[in-house]
Amino acid sequence: MGFSKPVATDRSATGIPTGRLAMWILLSSEIVIFGGLLVCYLLYRFHNTEWGHEAAHTNVWAGGFNTFVLLTSSLFIVLAHHAAETDKDNEKAFKWMWATIGCALIFLCVKAFEYTTEIHHGYTAQANPFWAFYYTATAIHAGHVVAGGLAIAICSFDVRKGEHLNRVELTGIYWHFVDLVWIFLFPLLYIAK
């Protein structure tokens, strides 16, 4: 089962490396998925102004802290990229990648804490469509945090050995997207009352 990379993979008629091009196409399809979900939410919000009372029960401090954590993680993945591309220091890139994963874990722990307290107070997904949207949007986002974290973890070991260094950039682009989705979710779900 020898698999050899086809010539096609290394061609670049556009001048954009194949991996980066594919990542942007992937993200544009992700944007429409999240975009669809958020447009649905916004349309409902405009028609149901009383959802503001429900939104008041979200934990803005926890959400704000998580925003800070995710933004920091985005900085870490940029530093990993810088270490791999400019400094050619694979060990340093590896460490920054794991710092990013550490932030992802903190984010998920805080999110789990939020879910637990909210469910204990009776704000379940069945309680009201606001909470249904809240759980759906944040859970899909959390799924992306897990997927991004796993991708970074898998790539980090190759990077440490000096292989597939371009994947630091690719996972980094993805990670920025995960971050950006949260930047939309936080004000729309937590802050808007």
């Binding site: 086809p6 010539v7 008629a13 196409i25 544009s28 399809s29 979900l37 069945q126 469509p129």
Partner: protein
């Protein structure tokens, strides 16, 4: 890289877990043909019930109302998601893209393999949905809530969720495959192949993939919300819980209508290749066709609410959607006329693909023109939900899927298997398909105009619809369907027999210009002995001043 061009593939690398684009394309092709038989069988069963209500259907038995609903729903679902998409986009996209842009494979062969594997799992999940308690989902392929959102309404507690899951997996398979298609086309073209040198079919498949990607996203979100309504008891679409069922209709048709063009564009691509090659003519107005296809794609995303004219949307909005719906016929008419103009002055060879291409142009025209009636929000009040609509969309989707599919299969069969398809059998199959096709759906136009509603299990309960002439038309349609189905057995026979007894094709049986005709038939792993360089556009037939009939894309200019 020279060693891997001559590397012999093992059985598993060819047929079980291939990464070679041609074998993945064939996996999609065989699966779609098999699913076509399944979907066709379902249509046979429920049409038999309509023609002879309550009687036992041969090979099935007595059809219960639950059976009827599940068969109707899954017939539509299978024909669109498991036949049309895999055949027109995945099978031919996989086979043709690397061959026609002159490279050795897709950019991500293993992602390509994953795409088929997800698709295969989705097929298994769909079949499982028939076997669970309560049976398969019966809420129509549109799966409108609240009916689809609560087990106590749909009576299929497991079937409806497995159905949603199967469709979602199928969508994921196509998104994964689509990333590969687009990246390959953008980045891996042969040196010298500029944007306007890309063969039209490759443009069309890629436009279809882009259109699919941008229209399906909101439905992915919508499907997750539907699954949560079904399984967790949330109320996204349940009015009593604060939700809105019309939201799902918007999400569904925001995808559902562009989907028609997702399927149509690849078939338009097949037409461009077949008509130019077999009429020995340059494609008339390449750029106009291309930009009209862009316009079609853009307009198709703002027509969706014409499916909801009587769903309680604002009548002012209905007016706007009427206008955009009728507007979309302009770019399509431009493409159509460009194709007809391509025939003009050509030296037309009525080989099998050309017969199918011509039949497509004629039959699809009926589908397109009846669409104008339905696009008008006033007329739609009468036409909505009757069998005029059913006949209309079968006059579009059957030519797109099957006539388009047969065009592509008969045209590229010699490339894929090294031999041409048997002409005599093909001609019999052609007429045995085209004539009964009209026999099925012309009666449905008539019944629809007479007011016959669709999705009804047994018309004997509706005296208005049980007048003698009506029932005869239903029987005529059903008999036509059986005849059409029997002729498809001939096609299967012809496909198998042609592999052994067809005329040996050689590299270029039709005298084509595009790159897939410049490599051996069937192409080896790696496709080309030397990867080609491109010097000109794809349709240089009968060039004035040239001593040759065709100028292949990879032939260097003398000057």
């Amino acid at each position: 890289m020279s060693d891997h061009h001559h590397h012999e593939l093992t059985f598993s690398e060819k047929f079980l877990f291939p990464t070679d684009h041609k074998y993945i394309g064939l996996q999609y092709l065989w699966t779609s043909l098999f699913m076509g038989a399944v979907g066709g069988f379902m249509a046979y069963v429920f049409r038999m019930q309509l023609a002879w209500p309550g009687e036992s259907v041969p090979l099935f038995g007595v059809v219960t109302p639950q059976n009827y609903n599940a068969l109707l729903t899954n017939h539509a679902t299978i024909m669109i998601f498991w036949v049309a998409m895999p055949m027109l986009i995945a099978a031919f996209g996989n086979i043709l893209i690397p061959l026609m842009i002159g490279c050795d494979d897709m950019v991500f062969p293993r992602l390509n393999r994953l795409s088929y594997q997800i698709f295969f799992v989705s097929t298994v999940v769909l079949f499982l949905s028939f076997l669970v308690p309560g049976g398969g989902f019966g809420g129509s392929w549109t799966s409108y809530p609240p009916l689809s959102a609560r087990a106590e309404y749909s009576l299929t507690p497991w079937g409806s969720s497995l159905w949603v899951l199967a469709v979602a997996l199928e969508i994921v398979a196509f998104l994964v495959g689509g990333i590969n298609f687009m990246t390959t086309t953008m980045n891996s073209r042969a040196p010298g192949m500029k944007m306007m040198d890309i063969p039209m079919v490759i443009w069309m498949i890629n436009l279809a993939v882009v259109l699919f990607m941008f229209s399906v996203g909101p439905l992915v979100a919508g499907a997750i919300m539907l699954l949560l309504d079904q399984q967790l008891g949330t109320s996204f679409y349940i009015p009593s819980g604060g939700g809105d069922p019309v939201l799902f209709q918007h999400l569904f048709w925001f995808f559902g209508h562009p989907e028609v063009y997702v399927l149509l564009l690849p078939t338009f691509g097949f037409m461009a290749e077949v008509i130019t090659t077999l009429a020995r003519k340059k494609l008339f107005a390449y750029k106009t066709i291309l930009f009209s296809a862009f316009m079609t794609g853009i307009l198709s995303m703002i027509v969706w609410a014409h499916h909801q004219f009587i769903a309680g949307i604002d009548p002012r909005m209905a007016n706007i959607f009427s206008i955009t719906t009728i507007l979309i016929s302009i770019p399509l008419a431009i493409i159509y006329l460009a194709y007809i103009w391509t025939f003009y002055g050509g030296s037309i060879k009525y080989e099998l693909p050309m017969m199918w291409a011509s039949a497509f142009l004629v039959i699809f025209l009926v589908g397109g023109l009846t669409g104008l009636f339905l696009g008008s929000s006033a007329l739609d009040i009468y036409f909505h939900d009757n069998t005029f609509v059913v006949a209309h969309f079968h006059y579009t989707l059957m030519p797109i899927t099957f006539f388009g599919g047969f065009t592509a299969i008969t045209y590229w069969y010699p490339k894929i298997f090294g031999r041409k398809m048997l002409h005599g059998l093909g001609v019999i199959h052609f007429w045995g398909t085209v004539i009964p096709f009209n026999g099925i759906f012309i009666p449905l136009f008539m019944l629809g105009l007479a007011g016959q509603h669709r999705k009804i299990y047994d018309y004997t309960h509706f005296p208005d619809l049980m007048q003698p002439g009506f029932q005869q038309l239903r029987e005529f349609a059903t008999i036509s369907l059986v005849v059409l189905a029997l002729f498809q057995l001939l096609f299967v026979y012809s496909m198998v027999m042609s592999m052994k007894t067809g005329e040996v094709a050689g590299n270029d049986p039709w005298g084509g210009t595009t790159l897939e005709w410049q490599c051996p038939s069937p192409p080896p792993h790696g496709n080309f002995a030397t990867l080609p360089t491109v010097y000109r556009g794809p349709y240089e037939y009968s060039v004035p001043g040239s001593d040759k009939d065709v100028l292949p894309q990879n032939m260097p200019s003398k000057a």
